[in-house]
């Protein structure tokens, strides 16, 4: 039986096994498997999407393990919802819940920040001085928004004087909506762009230009506005076929594109954004700007031996993992999942959904001293909103192939209502189920 046939057979079996669970209303996650008995000490740094989902799956599959989650933040933030908040469709609290409600039974949550990782001594130390020895470590710290790299930027002023920044947090996303809405009432120049670093959800800056265009049109002020998208390289998106589609849509919507522009300085009083270009600085006066900061690994990872030593991911401290197993290449007891993983593409919740089961299986295989056959192909997805009510379901892998989940049914590069519904109604519950290890 080929791999594909195996997968189909397994899926059919899952459906068949799921039916009694539905009828009985008891088991929610399909078939339960016999737990692997172990006394391994597993520490997970970070209780975001990747950390919680990993903890849930490990707790489901292991018996007797010590699983410890380390994260100081008590709120859990549903970051894919920020765009909807910044579009004025949801309030800030739509994206906020608590970490504790998603911590699986049998998992210990330590509400302290990880301060030091010693992968040689196999120990994590918290900011309160607690030492946590481990047999296996899962690094799921997420990433750091490096606003300080933009001269003149002040996070406290997001929402003021025409400056927005969707990424900074729920309240900042709501403040960005207020700034964008005020701009859409009058028109003027709106400036968009993205940083030159790896970043989470590279579609989000593109979406926000689309949403600003849509808001202007709904207010009848599109003809009073000029929208400029400053791409950091010569394309709008890393996947060529998607970049071409966005280029055509931007042309259709009248969004002007400049290339090789990287925001390096902002004058919040005079509303001037300065971009670094191959031909020197380009100053753009704006009435509204969506600032997307450079991103890098958090200090606890950057200052550890875990980052890449050379290559494109070394400077920003992304963890050096095997791209298919998420296992660290120099410290085999360490796995890195989610945003902090130094792999091409894929700093999204969808990546987490695909990465976590693979990393968990490799970790359990290591406990059992067997080889895991699971492999992560770089899958990630982005419901690329093109206006309120429509989106394109863009899914791709490491090789820039489109990998549609619903081939022949939902066209990947078509602006569709069904994709919008998936984004607005389906994504959050799927995400929350993922945190519990059930999706």
């Amino acid at each position: 039986m080929s791999g594909n046939q195996d997968a189909v057979a397994l899926k059919r079996r899952s459906i068949l096994l799921g039916a009694p669970a539905l009828a009985g209303g008891l088991a929610l996650a399909g078939p339960s498997r016999a737990g692997v008995r172990t006394n391994a000490k597993i520490v997970i740094i970070g209780a975001g999407a990747a950390g919680l989902a990993t903890a849930s799956r490990l707790a489901d599959r292991l018996e007797g393990a010590s699983i410890t989650l380390v994260d100081r933040r008590r709120e859990h933030l549903y970051q894919p919802g920020y765009t909807l908040v910044a579009a004025g469709l949801k309030s800030a609290d739509y994206t906020v819940s608590t970490t504790r409600e998603f911590v699986a039974r049998g998992v210990t949550l330590i509400e302290e920040a990880a301060a030091e990782i010693d992968p040689v001594g196999k120990t994590v130390t918290t900011d309160q001085g607690k030492r946590l020895p481990y047999d296996f470590l899962v690094v799921a710290t997420g990433l750091e928004l490096n606003y300080g790299a933009i001269e003149g930027m002040d996070v406290a002023r997001i929402g003021q004087n025409g400056m927005g920044s969707v990424y900074a947090g729920p309240e900042q996303a709501a403040a960005t909506w207020r700034a964008m809405s005020a701009y859409a009432d009058k028109g003027g120049v709106a400036v968009f762009g993205r940083p030159p670093t790896e970043m989470k959800c590279a579609g989000a800056p593109l979406k926000y230009a689309f949403l600003t265009d849509d808001t202007l049109r709904r207010r009848g002020n599109r003809d009073k506005a000029e929208l400029i998208y400053n791409a950091h390289v010569k394309t709008l998106f890393s996947v060529p076929i998607v970049a071409e589609k966005v280029r055509m849509l931007y042309a259709d919507r009248g969004i002007r594109v400049t290339h090789d522009h990287v925001l390096r300085k902002i004058d919040l009083e005079r509303r001037i954004a300065t971009f670094r270009t191959p031909n020197g600085d380009d100053e753009q006066r704006y009435d509204f700007i969506n600032v997307v900061p450079p991103m890098r690994a958090p200090a606890v990872v950057r200052n550890s031996p875990l980052p890449w030593q050379t290559g494109p991911w070394a400077a920003d401290g992304w963890a050096e993992v095997n791209r298919h197993s998420l296992r660290h290449v120099r410290f085999p007891e360490v796995f890195c999942v989610g945003d902090v993983a130094g792999v091409p593409k894929g700093k999204t919740a969808a990546s987490v959904k695909w990465q976590v089961p693979v990393a968990v299986d490799h970790l359990i295989a290591a406990i059992q001293q067997r080889e895991s056959k699971e492999s992560y192909n770089g899958y990630t997805s982005c419901p690329l909103i093109t206006r309120v009510g429509r989106a394109m379901l863009v899914e791709f892998d490491y090789n820039d192939n489109l990998v549609p989940s619903f081939p022949g049914i939902i066209a990947p590069l078509e602006e569709l209502w069904i994709t919008w519904i998936m984004k607005e109604v389906g994504l959050k519950p799927t995400y929350l189920a993922m945190l519990r290890g059930k999706a």
Partner: protein
């Protein structure tokens, strides 16, 4: 979607609807059982009652589509391809059948054992 099985779907709907999931399922099951009970009791589908239930069903179908649009901040202008129209039809049919079935059962229960009542 990875691992899209019934267990996953149920988990997703549980997150979507929270505590209301099981009351909603219970209501749907109760309405279906009431419909079956009324049909078995009357030993046939009564055409007059069925016509009224179908008229209510039309309203239910339209309501389902409009509610979906209201919840998703969207409208008919947002339909972008054939799959969107199929989805609208699906939502309409789902709402229409559900409402028709529910109203037929309700009319039957209100009418008691009388076969003449609508």
């Amino acid at each position: 979607m990875k691992d899209l099985d019934l267990g996953t779907l149920l988990a997703v709907f549980q997150e979507m609807l929270g505590w209301t999931l099981w009351p909603v399922i219970a209501l749907a099951v109760l309405a279906s059982l009431a419909f079956l009970w009324v049909v078995l009791r009357d030993r046939s589908l009564l055409s007059r009652r069925l016509v009224w239930a179908e008229i209510c069903g039309l309203g239910g179908g339209i309501a389902a589509v409009l509610i979906m649009q209201a919840v998703t901040h969207s409208g008919f202008a947002d339909l972008g391809g054939p799959i969107d129209w199929l989805l609208v039809v699906g939502i309409f049919v789902f709402g229409a059948i559900g409402a028709a079935l529910g109203f037929y059962a309700l009319f039957g229960l209100l009418a008691g054992g009388s076969r003449k009542a609508a």
